[in-house]
């Protein structure tokens, strides 16, 4: 596992849309599983991609074993609400009688972000779960979290609820979740970015929002699709087409370097993942990324 995340049991991967969050989250989960840690990777109510990347059939909302030490689930609100309610109510029959009541359903929809709360609740519940021998059911959970704006909303739900609802069962739930998310010994955030101006700026804003507003700890920044310079010195006498080719590559590499420097100002470790040119963005790519994330070898 990445050195900065060795002790963290909850790893939350987020960043701007389209930067490769799922790829990095999957690589981290794979790496964690290989370290012998029982690892669960969670997607949050999205079109499932983790299983595709690993070349496995879709798992849906059913927590499923994918590989040695590796489990996956796509957390969806409806199923999460049901599980959560059952945990509190204990009996299936009460659940059906109450939660399938039209009136109740109607009311529940208007509790702010109940959907997000139960999804987060399910993820964090698995983090607390123990086997009969007293050891953790999962040593580590990797969350492929939503993109920037939705991530902030998602991760602030416990705090927003604490500010909104009066003391009671809902507030109690929100409190332990908030405490777990903001405990740096338990939880580390991985920010994924691309070596381009917009994603870099958004990463810096996201870092600010997560650390100041949500009070979480960011452990590491990953730059995905990094380009290392290849044409270091200008070559005289090139045909114009090739000169342009070299120039474009140099410009992209320069942008990668500028991005790296700008992200380095956050004062966090920055890991580089080289841009990959692989035909099927599947298992092979994930394995190669997992290795390069470990770095310094």
């Amino acid at each position: 596992m990445i050195q900065e995340l060795v002790d963290q049991r909850l790893v939350i991967v987020t960043g701007k849309g389209g930067v490769g969050k799922t790829t990095i989250a999957t690589a981290l989960a794979l790496q964690s599983a290989r370290d012998g840690k029982r690892t669960l990777i969670c997607e949050v109510n999205t079109k499932e991609r983790v299983t595709h990347l690993l070349g496995k059939p879709e798992v849906g909302a059913e927590l499923t074993s994918l590989d040695e030490n590796l489990w996956a689930v796509n957390v969806r609100p409806q199923e999460a609400l049901r599980e959560y309610a059952l945990m509190i109510l204990k009996f299936e029959s009460i659940y059906s009688a109450v939660f399938e009541n039209r009136l109740v359903r109607y009311f529940l929809r208007f509790i702010p972000s109940l959907q997000e709360l139960v999804m987060l609740g399910k993820i964090l519940y698995h983090l607390k779960e123990k086997k009969s021998d007293g050891s953790w059911r999962f040593d580590r959970i990797v969350v492929d979290a939503p993109a920037t704006g939705h991530a902030i909303t998602f991760l602030s739900v416990p705090q927003v609820l604490l500010d909104t609802v009066p003391p009671g069962p809902l507030a109690n739930e929100a409190k332990w979740m908030r405490d777990m998310l903001t405990d740096p010994k338990t939880t580390g955030v991985v920010l994924v970015s691309l070596p381009e101006e917009l994603p870099v700026n958004e990463t810096i804003e996201l870092h600010e929002a997560l650390t100041k507003r949500v009070q979480m700890t960011v452990s590491v920044v990953v730059i995905n699709g990094f380009i290392t310079p290849r044409f270091d010195e200008p070559t005289p006498g090139l045909p114009p087409g090739l000169a342009t080719l070299a120039h474009e590559h140099t410009a992209r590499a320069a942008l990668s370097e500028t991005s790296r420097q700008k992200l380095a100002t956050l004062g966090l470790p920055v890991r580089l993942v080289q841009k990959l040119f692989l035909p099927e963005f599947g298992r092979a790519a994930i394995e190669s990324i997992a290795t390069s994330l470990e770095g310094r070898k």
């Binding site: 701007k16 109740v104 109607y106 909303t153 009066p166 474009e248």
Partner: protein, 376 residues
Amino acid sequence: MNVIVEAVAESSVLITVGSGGVGKTTIAATLAMRSALEDKASLVLTIDPAKRLANALGLAALGNTEARIPDETFRAAGLTPRAPMHAMMLDMKRTWDELIERRAPADKRERILNNKFYQALSGALAGSQEYIAMEKLWELRTHRKYPLIVLDTPPTAHALDFLDAPNRILDFLDNDAAKWLLSPALAAGKIGLKLFNLGGSYVTKTISRFTGTETLQQLAEFMLSISGMNEGFRERAHQTRALLEAETTAFVLVTAPMPERIDEAVYFHTLLKQNKMKVAAVVVNRVQPPVHDSLWREAARLPESQRRRFEQTLKENEFLATQDARGVARLRELCAPTPLVLVPRFELDVHDLKSVWEISRYLWGDARLELGPQAR
């Protein structure tokens, strides 16, 4: 005629949709800019707080009111607009507050604005961004005389959130349960919902175990105080839906050609179609153009030490070009008969009107990106 030219000519509202990180905001700005250049005044309404777009448009920052793009910005890029172009950024919290101030009865305004549930709803909570974007669009469409409004939608993880926003409000108001719960209390003019009159009933007791009694009570209060606005909301939700379905409203679906973006775009396209929305075009942004054979021949003539680096670069570009061409072909097949418009990958980020103009040439069909045989 080019599909984009046609869509701009026929529409008074264009809505760009797509997943995050595909260049949706840039495409929205491009549509508005070129429209103004072609003599149709425009407004681009974005939710993207990135300063860069503001800077590219020659504005210090974008705010909750419309700002006109200065002529100097156009001149600096060698362009002359024939009609004004405006831009604004949606401020969620302020738009919500304005909505309440306009619609709530005077005696309830403060109570609503101070209610914690309202503050959570308007500030940070999921789904309200999508709803308020629709609300602002309707307001601008109705009270301002822009021949073209381009709405850059929030980057949704869930396509339905956006299409569904007005419906959700309607659903809320048309729900029998709501009427049943609220009407007796309204008639009595005080808080005393039936639900709580049920007292120690089985159902009430069970949800209280889940949420706490006080939470239910406060939520009920909030619902009661906004219930006076029901009619207004209902009417507005119907109007917004009608605006989305209008002949003069069209969607422009923006995507990138990588495999994972394609799946999302197709999913989005299907949803729009199922909802009977008019999709003018699918804009495929940042497509890698094919590598000319002449470059390979030139590289082969280079001395060994240089050749390898150039061939490696050509190989990488060719890989991307092939992958993109395959993506474009898949999109063409799965989104048929919606036309595709291809925009090539530009070397650097869009940072001034000049680069926006370059993109517009591909949208308007002045320039065309030809793909290799794979895409045909």
